[in-house]
């Protein structure tokens, strides 16, 4: 057992020597790097690709680590050039997403080089028309636990409260009680603990249903001591606030995980300010725990009545259609149906969409599949023979309904089938210094967030292929049918149509509701001495919805005196849908 756990440490912590940026032509590996190495790698990449990559620290974490961002673009972006903002590892346990983001960046830079062996015109086209901001690790303080000792998952690194109201702050958090280098779980004998062994797989714990004659035997608690002698463990961890709960939309006051106030966490404020500074961001993609591509979010009508001034929660219908189309394209490319958490309260994504007015895709890269098809491929796992399942007291003559296999049992079966059983340690008796006999084991850190080593690169590569298709989906304005017709001497009628023939809108419905992004702006260019008799010199266009046509046109007209028809022109600009200049075509 000890051996197995030690082996696990090595499995999860591959030696990661620092090395220079990717050598040309070498296959790109998915690497799990501690913050110092990851940050250095990002800086090295920027130094090695000065025309394409630029490093920026967007701020510093609570523990004073740089939050690094790499901007990829072929040269300096044009004004209004649409940008995609990729944020990964915004939840501590999602370290794999940062490795995948680093993989994506290295792969893009390798393929963008026209002299490189794996040179890729598609990548060059993408980077010439689209800017990509990548923050591989939004939450460096939490992710660092993946590289520290003891090995553990950390979600909260922010504002701590006195959870147990004993006047002491943070005295009872997770700890490696058995000294094996890992903070896992304790199965504590407790008839009020709510859990019992799964009859299908004794390793797994399931909720006991007293109404069906089942009785609870265990409580499940993180591995922890009772440092303050209050007969409780884990009741007052040092930190409570989680980064991706600390944003203003649907934020919950006085719930510890949400923090003291929105953007109190320095990482949250840095991310929020980065978004506000970069008006060129037209789409946000977050790789992490939250999901709105596999499980679709609730939708609401644009004109749904407000309740006490507040609009109902959900994606506005037209936006939701675009999201669904993006999700479909992604599924076609990646085949990845991983479900994540649906509850977006207080997240970066919900703030960006609902208040910032920019669509945000929430993608969970990996979890142990529960999918029936994948499950069918794995053989049913025999229960651990050393720990026979506790036979529930079966009252004579009483027929109990057969339990469906629990989700936990399905996950364990998948682990067994994949030869990854060490990711869920068998329960091992342990004499807890305060609680007495308990068992230690269960889910090992990162067991459910890191795909098997063999799949890590494939999964990241597919996700990158989807990202590359987003370049052509971004909103881009253009003029069509720009015609100047001389009505009489010295009087010209100018007509033009501003279009956005792409999937994403210039302003999504949430942006129009929140009035939080700038509409496209059209300006009339007149030669000296000319004037518009009809039509303003400047028109703001806010309804280029996208979806390749529905309301993707705005017709514009002017009546102009004092200029030849051939001298008239129009200019348009926008925050994240490019710009356009055109000279009118003279028609008779």
């Amino acid at each position: 057992m000890l051996y197995a756990l030690t082996a696990l440490v090595f499995t999860l912590l591959p030696p990661t020597p620092a090395r220079p940026a990717q050598a040309a032509g070498a296959p790109i590996a998915v690497e799990f790097l501690p913050h110092a190495q990851l940050d250095q790698r990002l800086r090295d990449l920027a130094a090695a690709h000065p025309g394409r990559a630029r490093y920026e620290s967007i701020g510093r974490s609570r523990a004073d680590r740089d939050i690094g961002c790499l901007r990829l673009s072929e040269g300096e972006p044009r004004p209004g050039q649409p940008a995609i903002w990729l944020v990964a590892n915004i939840e501590g346990p999602q370290v794999y997403s940062s490795a995948a983001a680093l993989y994506a960046v290295e792969s893009l830079l390798a393929r963008a080089d026209s002299d490189a062996p794996d040179s890729d015109a598609k990548v060059r086209e993408f980077l010439s028309t689209t800017t990509l901001y990548v923050i591989p690790r939004a939450h460096p303080d939490a992710a660092e636990a993946r590289f520290g000792s003891p090995l553990m998952e950390v979600r909260a690194t922010g504002h701590g409260i006195d959870n147990d109201r004993d006047g002491r702050l943070g005295e009872d958090g997770p700890s490696d009680i058995d000294g094996d280098g890992i903070v896992a779980w304790m199965r504590v004998p407790d008839v009020e603990g709510g859990l019992m062994e799964d009859p299908r797989d004794a390793r797994a714990l399931v909720e006991a249903k007293p109404a069906q004659g089942e009785s609870a035997r265990f409580a499940l608690v993180r591995e922890s001591l009772d440092s303050d002698g209050d007969e409780r463990t884990m009741e007052d961890p040092r930190f409570d606030a989680e980064l991706n709960r600390n944003f203003p939309h649907s934020w919950r006051e006085h719930e510890a995980a949400y923090g003291l106030f929105p953007t109190d966490e320095p990482e949250a404020r840095a991310l929020a300010d980065f978004f506000l500074r970069h008006k060129d961001i037209g789409l946000v993609v977050v790789w992490g725990e939250l999901d709105n591509v596999t499980d679709k979010p609730k939708t609401v009508a644009m004109d749904a009545p407000r309740v006490q001034r507040i609009p109902p929660e959900g994606w506005i219908e037209t936006d939701a259609e675009i999201l669904a189309e993006l999700a479909k394209r992604r599924l076609d490319i990646t085949g990845n149906k991983t479900k994540g958490r649906a509850d977006h309260n207080g997240s970066l994504q919900s703030w960006v969409y609902n208040q910032g007015g920019v669509m945000a895709l929430s993608v969970t890269l990996w979890d142990i599949p529960l999918d029936a098809k994948e499950q069918a491929e794995s053989k049913a796992a025999p229960a651990d023979p050393s720990k026979p399942a506790a036979a529930p007291a079966d009252k004579a003559g009483e027929k109990k309904p057969e339990r469906e296999p629990s989700e936990e049992a399905k996950r364990l079966a998948w682990l067994d089938a994949k030869g990854l059983a060490e990711r869920y340690a068998s329960w091992k008796p342990f004499e807890h210094p305060q609680l007495g006999p308990v068992e230690v084991g269960g889910w090992q850190p990162y067991a459910r967030t890191e795909p098997p080593t063999a799949d890590q690169a494939t999964l990241a590569a597919k996700e990158l292929e989807f990202l590359l298709t987003l370049g052509s989906a971004m909103a881009r304005i253009d003029f069509v049918e720009v015609e100047a017709k001389e009505l009489s001497k010295d009087l010209v009628e100018l007509k033009a149509v501003l279009v956005n023939p792409h999937l994403l809108p210039v302003q999504c419905q949430a942006a129009r509701r929140a009035d939080s992004t700038r509409p496209a702006r059209v300006r009339l260019v007149l030669p000296a001495g000319a004037r518009a008799l009809v039509g303003p010199p400047e028109v703001l266009v806010d309804d280029l919805t996208g979806m390749g046509g529905k309301t993707a046109r705005r017709e514009l007209r002017w009546l102009i005196q004092g200029a030849p028809a051939g001298a008239l022109g129009l200019e348009a600009d926008s925050d994240h849908a490019g710009d356009a200049q055109v000279r009118a075509k003279v028609i008779q």
Partner: protein, 600 residues
């Protein structure tokens, strides 16, 4: 000119004596009743002061009363003005942080200027009276005041410096693109005639207008009623003095700033499209964030007062209906203070923000209560009805509001508040007239009514401060239960109306719980807890652990007692200590050998 007068005032007050607040022959106090008594710092309370002058007044008080008044710069405004909190307390009875503190601020809206003078007045009045008035002395001994005269110093500076109307410069000065055209603050009102005032524009359009001039007073525009008699107006009202600065066909659509720092606070915060002025996220502006940080770092703040203008209101939350009502025990405290306020402030009404005014998300005093658990009020200083005192309807009989405004200005200010209509050639509207009331008419009182407004509001805040919790250990009693087993009974009393922990703080577990502890070198604490019945000593909620350190999550309610009983063995000196975020710590020593009569 204004500055030189001010400096002269400073010079005169420096010669007024050097009596320390602690006493001295010359100190006669300035309670407001003493005819002929001269305060030691003379401040003209019949005018308003710009941002630098406000700080200078407080600095002058600080210099006169060293140790009692000190300042800390807690941050800087958008235009880099210091955000200075003045701390007022009697230093001989302990540091400010060891006492319950009253937070008082003003002028979050740049045009609502009189709040700052009310803050200064509060400090001035308490300091002037410290030496002679036992209530003032006790207040500074027992509590502290955190005084932020200007939440929005940039807005104030602009209001004094620039041309404005009574309603402009409410915002801070961070540029905002109000009209979404990519340009920031490019088209605000313009002082077309350069007279230093933003007033209004009207145009004569014979036979095609909507308004006519009042027959008795041609300064007044009045609408022509809808009619079938062919009666038409000769005038139209064209809006606030201004131009189409950016040539977009609109006038005054993107003025300086464009937000509201009283919509920026975390409790029930809502974004811009729900709540105008909210900002991109709570505490977005540096002024708001540094205040929040200060308050979060000072859990001893036990009362909050914010001074605004106008309308004569004593406001409390909730700001939004969706909140529901505040917990009943806290409402009782609010009601007691609010009703007292209505008596102290004639023309002011005690109101609930959402119900009696309008709904507001993200207000300051709603955060200090809902987020921090502190009893908090906003006062709207000055009610125009005061101009006509007890006349029914707040104006002379038979006079409309506009006529009453002109009457008051003509008779009581000799017309000094009104810019009379005068012609102007406007680039878009052609021949127009410009005129109207100045920025310092309407939302601020005329000079001769300023002092009364300041005094009544300052004394309301002082009354609130005097209600902050004050806990005493009223009684310690040792009872011999036999065989060397002793019972120690302790009675705590909060003498004031505000609880050490509001019901909101208890329900949301805000801040630290109070702690009542018992210790002594020869003492073994066996068990202990809070008594639930005054007459039955056996009814005790025993602490599950650490009986020598009882956690009082409920705190000590206003004007009430908490009784604790410990079971101990030992002898010699013992000490009982009470600690709370929002009350001074108290400690009483007693001898375990001094046994009262055994009761069991």
């Amino acid at each position: 000119m204004m500055l030189s007068l001010f400096l002269a005032a400073c010079a005169s007050c420096q010669s007024a004596g050097d009596t320390a607040p602690g006493g001295g022959a010359q100190s006669t106090g300035f309670s407001g009743t003493s005819v002929g008594v001269r305060p030691s710092v003379e401040i003209a309370w019949n005018r308003f002061y710009d941002d630098e002058e406000v700080y200078a007044l407080l600095d002058q008080l600080a210099a006169r009363y060293p140790g009692f008044l000190s300042s800390e710069t807690i941050g800087r405004s958008v235009e880099d003005r210091p955000m200075r909190v003045f701390k007022l307390t009697d230093p001989s009875t302990g540091a400010d942080t060891a006492k319950p503190a009253m937070w008082i601020d003003g002028n979050v809206h740049g045009n609502e200027i009189q709040g700052s003078e009310a803050v200064v007045y509060t400090a001035w009045y308490l300091l002037e009276n410290y030496a002679t008035n036992p209530k003032a002395r006790e207040l500074l001994e027992q509590s502290a005041f955190y005084l932020l005269p200007m939440v929005n110093p940039d807005g104030r500076a602009s209001w004094f410096r620039d041309a404005h109307n009574p309603h402009s410069s409410r915002t801070g000065r961070r540029p905002v693109d109000d009209d979404g055209d990519g340009r920031f603050d490019e088209d605000g009102p313009d002082d077309l005639d350069g007279d230093g005032h933003i007033v209004t524009m009207r145009k004569h359009v014979p036979g095609t207008g909507t308004h006519r001039l009042n027959a008795d007073d041609p300064r007044l525009l009045e609408p022509v009623p809808a009619n079938d008699r062919g009666l038409r107006g000769d005038w139209i009202f064209v809006g606030t003095e201004g131009l189409d600065n950016d040539g977009d066909g609109r006038i005054n659509e993107d003025s300086s700033g464009g937000y509201d720092m009283n919509r920026a606070w975390p409790s029930m915060w809502q974004p811009e499209h729900v709540q105008f002025g909210a900002g991109n996220y709570p505490l977005f502006w540096p002024e708001t964030r540094c205040i929040a940080r200060f308050l979060l770092a000072h859990p001893n703040v036990a009362g909050v007062q914010s001074f605004h203008n106008n309308g004569g209101m004593i406001l409390r939350g909730p700001g939004a209906e969706a909140f529901g009502e505040y917990p009943s025990r806290d409402v009782a405290v609010y009601d007691e203070l609010g009703r007292d306020g209505e008596r102290m402030l004639p023309f002011y009404r005690y109101m609930i923000i959402w119900r009696d005014l309008y709904s507001v998300f993200g207000g300051f005093v709603t955060w200090t209560y809902e987020g921090l658990g502190i009893i908090s009020f906003t006062n709207e200083l000055w009610n125009e009805d005061q101009r006509f005192a007890n006349l029914p309807g707040g104006r002379p009989a038979g006079m409309g509001p506009d006529a009453a405004d002109q009457f008051f200005d003509d008779r009581m200010l000799l017309g000094g508040g009104f810019v009379d209509w005068h012609p102007f050639q406007h680039p878009l509207y052609g021949d127009i007239e410009i005129g109207g009331f100045r920025k310092d008419v309407g939302r601020v009182p005329p000079s001769f009514l300023i002092e009364e407004m300041l005094h009544r509001n300052a004394l309301f805040a002082i009354r609130h401060a005097a209600a902050m919790p004050r806990v005493v250990i009223e009684e310690t009693l040792v009872t011999d239960l036999g065989d060397g087993l002793l019972a120690v009974d302790v009675v705590l009393r909060n003498e004031n109306p505000i609880p050490t922990r509001t019901q909101r703080a208890v329900e949301k577990r805000i801040g630290s719980a109070d702690v009542l502890s018992l210790e002594g070198s020869g003492l073994q604490v066996l068990a202990g807890g809070i008594r639930t019945d005054r007459f039955r000593p056996e009814l005790v909620q025993l602490a599950e652990r650490e009986p020598e350190r009882l956690i009082l999550e409920q705190g000590v309610a206003g004007r009430s007692q908490v009784r604790a009983r410990w079971f101990v063995r030992g002898k010699g000196k013992a000490g009982v200590q009470f600690q709370s975020d929002k009350a001074r710590s108290v400690r009483v020593e007693f001898d375990l050998g001094q046994v009262g009569p055994a009761k069991q």
